[in-house]
Amino acid sequence: MTAALALLRRDIALAFREGGAIGVALGFYLVVVAIAPFGLGPDLNLLGRVAPGLLWIALLLAALLSADRIFHNDYEDGSLDILTMGPLPLAVVAASKSLAHWVTTCVPLALLAPVLGLLLNLPIDTIPLLVLAMLVGTPAVSFIAGIGASLTLGLRRSGLLLALLVLPLYVPVLIFGVSTISAAVTGPGSPWPPFLMLCAISLASMVLAPLAAAAALRTSFS
């Protein structure tokens, strides 16, 4: 357990130290949301209606663009080889690295979302629910991205390929994440049923995705 925690702490520290990695993801999120009105028109009613979907989609893209970082740095300098031979099960290694991605990429994105929501005329009393839904749903994003990162390890154009492979798997997260906020914005219905589905998907991903990621890591080595 302490070994897994040590690995987690190391990855988080490295991500913060790696100049600009988190900042770039936040900047990308801001830029995408900022240019959206130029494409959609400045009508606040329209923007307010599409805000939940737009905020979630831009978050998914920003998280995916940082996803090949999950294993890549350690793969490059050989630390991943050492980790596969070490005492930790490879699934725990994959889980720890996915969790590090969640802490260093998805959580900051989720915390930036309120500001961007205001840009898109999201009602201010739905903002706490927005942050909560994103914090609860993004573990699924990070852990499924971990599967994609392990499958595309070391390949050319791995960023684009990873997005192509992983985005269809995000459909449930997107549907329930957006529905949670839309239900609070426009009604009808309560936001809690889709919210609970979001919790379930995140929990299931945290358990199952590392197994697939570990199997995929082994294919890159054997």
Partner: protein
């Protein structure tokens, strides 16, 4: 003659099996397609609501059966690669992916052309079509992964993992799309099969279904044979280079 998957595990034996079966299967496919198309156009009655456009169903629905069945085949082949290490499992999976993608594309295009006269738009985000679109994207992902990894062994195992991840996700995706669709459904419910399927419409449907199934197996066998030969050719070309270098 009893054969199991193990009998066909030997590539050479598979090649001779394929060579024997393919001509008969071609004839069967042509006959079934001829009967099915004749029934679709001349025998099947006109639907009282949709008119003649219901004839599109005779391509759309059988293509859906094959498109979805093909993914099931790829998932089973993925288990074969990862668990039982069947030698031809990754060949089966690799060759099935483009075929499944093509059949799924047929579903989407015929569904779109069926939709335009029915409710005026070329695309509608109903639960069925949307789930099939996601299935098409999963096929594209598999094809992209196969093309991106050079080592066939690694490619086979990676694609198998992706296929299984997709297979596990498909029920969840289907459930969430159904849920999403009921949330956004307008008052009238459109069902692409039409309200009911009259029994007299069923016979052409099953004949076309059998024809598409035969077509799928035929194309898959030919593609598997081509893939096995391609691997042999590559090995022989490497031997040729080695011989030339040493002589």
């Amino acid at each position: 003659m009893t054969f199991s998957l193990n009998t066909l595990a030997n590539p050479s034996r598979f090649l001779s099996f394929a060579g024997a079966v393919i001509p008969w299967l071609t004839a069967l496919t042509v006959i079934l397609l001829a009967i099915g198309l004749y029934q679709a156009f001349f025998v099947a009655p006109v639907d009282y609501q949709q008119g003649d456009t219901v004839r599109i169903m005779y391509i759309h629905v059988p293509a859906a059966w094959v498109g979805m069945g093909c993914y099931a085949l790829i998932a089973i082949a993925a288990l074969g690669t990862l668990i039982w290490r069947h030698p031809l499992a990754d060949v089966a999976a690799k060759t099935a992916a483009p075929i499944g993608a093509a059949f799924t594309l047929v579903i989407l295009v015929t569904g779109s052309l069926w939709g335009k006269p029915m409710w005026g738009t070329y695309w509608v985000w109903d639960a069925r079509l949307t789930s099939l679109l996601v299935l098409f994207l999963l096929y594209l992902g598999l094809i992209a992964l196969w093309q991106s990894i050079e080592d066939p062994g690694r490619a086979g195992r990676a694609a198998a993992i992706l296929a299984l991840v997709g297979a596990i996700n498909l029920p969840i995706i289907k459930f969430s799309v159904d849920w999403w669709n009921t949330l956004h459904q307008p008052a009238s419910v459109f069902r692409i099969d039409g309200p009911t399927i009259d029994p007299s419409l069923l016979t052409p449907l099953f004949v076309m279904g059998a024809a598409f199934f035969a077509l799928f197996i035929l194309l898959h066998l030919i593609a598997m044979r081509a893939e096995i030969l391609r691997r042999r050719v590559r090995v022989l070309q490497q031997t040729q280079v080695a011989q030339a270098a040493l002589s």
